[in-house]
């Protein structure tokens, strides 16, 4: 289990994958992948199309069971826990293709997420108390309004999720995920579909969340520059194998990463170590055995 040192105490990783392997029939989507997200940090996960980033997200969030390996949250093995249990433990995520609730309004998405975390009993008690017919508590309204404002969703707050532009849909997912006050947030391509201004605002909001609320982020992005600008550490996947891990400045110039992205013919005898303090798992990197 990896740990992170904060001051004088050592806190367990918010979420970590240990030797995770996923197979779809004969296809090895992930092979022996290790990854950890320390408290109060932003980790980036990059890789070309088909690298296995979303598959790893599915494993971390519990939607997919790994063939081998484990997943832990705060040092506790959660490999066999359902997505719901992981969510209860503080995990939230967004999706590459936004998974919104079509008939619900943007605001209702945030309200529901807030209640799941802060007023869970209302899932059942509303039915007999009729609270659903009354005004919501002021604290809930305030928190929901804050999130909607932070992500600039005021204009569409009462609009149904169906038919939202992709960029807005992503922001709604982020708002919904933040409403559960997660300790670790997995963001799958959050800037896809956003314009430059929206992207800057999103980055600002996320950075603030990490700084003020101590949330840890794991971000999958195709926009490598964005990841590098935001992240404390970057992990690189290629064809299901982690080929590099380290500080953003080092990742940018890593030959293996360049090969993965640009197709340069560079053979890697073993995984790259780009930062002295971080061990890189991954084993061999031969593409023949992946299919």
């Amino acid at each position: 289990m990896s740990t992170a040192t904060t001051g004088t105490t050592t806190a367990p990783d918010r979420i970590a994958a240990h030797g995770v392997t996923v197979r779809f029939g004969g296809l090895v989507a992930l092979k022996d992948v290790d990854l950890a997200v320390a408290p109060h940090t932003i980790a980036g996960l990059v890789g070309p199309n088909g690298a296995g980033k979303s598959t790893l997200f599915a494993v971390l969030s519990g939607l997919l069971k790994p063939a081998q390996g484990t997943v832990s949250m705060n040092g506790v093995d959660v490999t066999h826990r359902s997505p719901q249990k992981r969510a209860s433990a503080g995990l939230a995520r967004t999706f590459q293709h936004p998974e919104l609730f079509s008939s619900m309004t943007v605001r209702e998405h945030v309200v529901l997420a807030h209640r799941v975390r802060h007023a869970r009993s209302r899932l059942w008690t509303d039915l007999v108390t009729g609270r659903g017919l009354r005004r919501p508590p002021a604290a809930e309204t305030e928190r929901v309004d804050d999130l909607i404002e932070a992500l600039h969703l005021e204009d569409i707050a009462h609009r149904p999720a169906t038919g939202l532009p992709l960029g807005k849909a992503r922001l709604v997912e982020v708002a919904r995920a933040l409403a559960v006050d997660p300790t670790v947030l997995l963001l799958d391509e959050p800037s896809s579909g956003l314009d430059v201004r929206e992207t800057e605002e999103l980055v600002s909001t996320l950075t603030e969340v990490v700084r003020e609320r101590g949330v840890s982020l794991l971000i999958v992005e195709h926009d490598v520059e964005l990841v590098i600008s935001m992240s404390d550490v970057v992990h690189v996947l290629d064809f299901g194998v982690k080929i590099a891990e380290g500080a953003p400045s080092l990742i940018r110039d890593d030959p293996a990463v360049r090969a993965a992205y640009l197709g340069e013919d560079i053979e890697l005898a073993e995984p790259r170590r780009t930062e002295q303090t971080v061990a890189v798992a991954g084993g061999d990197n031969t593409r023949e055995e992946r299919v």
Binding site: Q84, A87, L123, R159, A161, R176
Partner: protein, 685 residues
């Protein structure tokens, strides 16, 4: 024994032809044709008319009915309906095809006249030649059936494998978008597919009629078996569907071998009825365990990428602005006021009908919850209503409980069944859920409702109304009170946290689960509550008509209920009330004021109403409610319908003026064969 096997192969061959028809249209268009039985009936009816009424020779009549009328029917239905369904939600597709199953037989009967004698001739010459291979009995009808299947398989495989048309059909199955890009018109190919499918349906209808009778009930049995074969084949594989259909036919016939079970005993008919359900259940459990029973979507990656969102009755619902709280309330109040005025002002006969309509509206609220809110296409709510009626009668009549107590407590007893079904179908895709629940309903109908002591020659068990509501007027107000209470519960559920969780699970299970919501708990909640409401509705219906009248709870009547509701609006409380009252009132209006020859027109209209969903999936009441809201907002000058024309309407609405609704008296429409005795409200013969 061999005779039963041969007969079973014959029956299985007909099932196989029917199953092939269903698979072809499903894989090529994504539409599971519940109107199949109606198409089979229509072609069989035309064959009968030509052959028996007009004395054409069987081969000539068969050529005209099966090879001319049937493809034309298929093409007409494609042009008028099915081509509009391509991008619609499973619910709309199902309900629209239910509309076909309701409207088509009525249209045929209106054109060709009611059939007094349901005994139909087959394709084989009469008198039937009988053979005795290995001492068994084999008649010419059965031989013709074998031949029919053989021809279908040879021609089908030949066309699909070795012709350009077959290549285009296979391309269409894989990807309509790519087929279109390659210069082939998907519409033309689809037209051909529907023509072929209707031909197969017609052939199956003509072949099955001599054994099952030329009735919708007979065709329904055929369709049920074909459904099961298609489900076992995971909706896609024709060879598997054909194999399973043959096996099912053999099992069905062999179970009637007297050596196994006495024909007079209680088991034989029940086991035979349960054969399709057993096949389906085993297959679904297997697929569910393997995780293979999810939603199957037609087309390839490009088709999925360009498929628009929406097309579902409840996707258009949202809330915004002040009108959200006021207009539906006002509209609901106006609707209620109209109902009250009708109850107070009309004669006893009509008041009785309205009471029946309100009672039906209570049962329809269960669809509002399970289909409209939960998005679960359950087709057996009428069965739970029937169980509610039976338990009410048992407790009130046989155990002396007060009537209302019997209704509300008896309905609790049905909840475990609904919850069990909810849990069983939790991992299934929408279409599978629809098929399982429909088959479950048919099973209960045949195993319970039509068996004594519950059946009692169709009149069921009598049950007395509460002492304070023996007359129609008071009873109508009692029913209205129950409706209002349950409507409030549904509204509360919708606006509650649980309601939002329900929506969340409906639209994205992954999104809901990663948010921390339990899919199982949510679906169990919906299932349990909807089952309870359906049962209460059934109990109140039994009190309305003072008898359980088991035939009134035929699952195919339930399809009509659902269609009426969805036509009006599947999420609107007031739509449920309007639908219930229309359902009972309109046939009576026709019967009282129009020639008797037009008696089936209301059912036909209703079927057409459901068909219209293809173009207006929102439903009539919400659509008019939205239009009204837009007018009000414009008058207030606040700019219309919110962001980008987002729509209003979350429930209660206004009375639908100028609607072309549906109904048929509270007697069950003729979608599932003879359903007498009818539910009558007393006071008039």
């Amino acid at each position: 024994m061999l005779s039963y096997v041969l007969a079973g192969l014959s029956l299985g061959a007909i099932y196989a032809i029917a199953a092939s028809s269903l698979v072809i249209t499903y894989v090529s268009s994504g539409i599971f044709n519940i109107g199949f039985a109606a198409m089979a009936y229509s072609v069989g009816r035309v064959f009968y008319s030509l052959n028996t009424v007009h004395h054409w020779s069987a081969p000539l009549a068969a050529v005209v009915a099966v090879l001319l009328f049937a493809p034309l029917l298929g093409m007409a239905l494609y042009y008028l309906l099915f081509r509009h369904l391509r991008l619609r939600s499973p619910l709309v597709k199902i309900v629209a095809t239910i509309g076909v199953s309701v409207a088509l037989p009525q249209a045929v009967d209106l054109s060709l006249g009611k059939l007094a004698n349901v005994t139909a001739p087959g394709l084989a010459p009469r008198p039937l030649t009988v053979f005795h291979p290995f001492g068994a009995v084999l008649n010419m009808d059965q031989v013709v059936t074998y031949g029919g299947l053989l021809v279908v398989l040879v021609v089908g495989v030949g066309v699909l494998r070795y012709t350009e048309i077959g290549l285009k059909v296979r391309a269409l199955v894989d990807s309509e978008a790519l087929t279109s890009l390659s210069g082939t018109s998907p519409s033309r190919v689809s037209l051909g597919v529907w023509a072929a499918s209707a031909t197969l349906a017609g052939l199956a209808g003509v072949l099955v009629a001599p054994a099952s009778g030329l009735t919708m009930s007979g065709m329904t049995s055929l369709m049920t078996a074909a459904f099961a074969a298609v489900v076992v084949a995971r909706l896609r594989s024709i060879p598997v569907a054909v194999g399973v259909a043959l096996l099912m036919g053999v099992v069905t016939e062999v179970l009637q071998w007297p050596t196994l079970f006495s024909p007079d005993g209680p088991w034989q008919s029940r086991l035979v009825s349960g054969v399709p359900f057993a096949f389906m259940l085993v297959a679904l459990l297997t697929y569910a365990v393997r995780g293979q029973a999810g939603e199957t979507s037609s087309g390839g990656a490009l088709d999925r990428a360009i498929r628009p969102q929406g097309g579902d009755p409840s996707a258009a619902v949202t809330v915004h602005g002040p009108a959200r709280t006021r207009l539906p309330l006002v509209a609901g109040a106006v609707t209620m006021a109209v109902v009250v005025v009708l109850v107070l002002g009309l004669a006893d006969y009509w008041t009785g009908l309205i009471a029946g309509g309100i009672a039906l509206a209570i049962a329809l609220l269960s669809y509002t919850l399970v289909v409209g809110e939960g998005g679960m296409v359950w087709l057996c709510q009428i069965t739970f209503a029937g169980v509610g009626a039976v338990t009410t009668a048992e407790l009130a009549t046989n155990h002396g409980w007060p009537a209302l107590l019997a209704v509300f407590v008896g309905s609790v007893l049905t909840v475990p069944f609904g919850v069990a079904l909810g849990v069983l179908t939790i991992r299934l895709g929408n279409l599978y859920v629809a098929l399982v629940t429909l088959t479950f309903g048919l099973l209960i109908q045949r195993l319970v409702f039509t068996q004594d002591p519950f059946y009692n020659f169709g009149s069921g068990t009598s049950v007395a109304r509460p002492g304070f509501a023996t007359d129609n007027k008071n009873f109508a107000f009692l029913a209205l009170g129950v409706f209002l209470v349950l409507a409030l519960i549904v509204v509360n559920v919708r606006r509650s946290t649980a309601g939002m969780a329900m929506s969340a699970v409906r639209w994205s299970e992954d999104g809901a689960r990663t948010l921390g919501l339990s899919v199982v708990q949510t679906k169990v909640l919906v299932s349990g509550l909807a089952t309870y409401i359906a049962a209460v509705g059934g109990g109140i219906l039994a009190l309305t008509f003072q008898s359980t009248l088991p035939d009134s709870f035929d699952p195919f009547v339930g399809l009509v209920w659902l269609s009426v509701l969805v036509t009006m609006g599947s999420r609107s409380i007031m739509a449920a009330l309007v639908a219930g009252i229309f359902f009972t009132l309109l046939p009576a209006v026709f019967a009282s004021y129009l020639p008797s020859s037009l008696g089936d027109v209301p059912v036909l209209l209703f079927g057409l109403g459901a068909v219209m969903l293809a173009k207006n999936p929102e439903g009539v009441v919400p659509m008019h409610g939205r239009q009204l809201a837009t007018v009000f907002e414009r008058r207030r000058g606040d700019g219309g319908t919110g962001v980008d024309g987002a729509t209003s309407t979350s429930g209660a609405d206004h009375e639908p003026s100028g609607v072309t609704p549906d109904p048929s008296a509270l007697r069950a429409p003729n979608v599932a064969g003879p359903v007498e005795p009818t539910l009558s409200t007393g006071g008039r013969a």
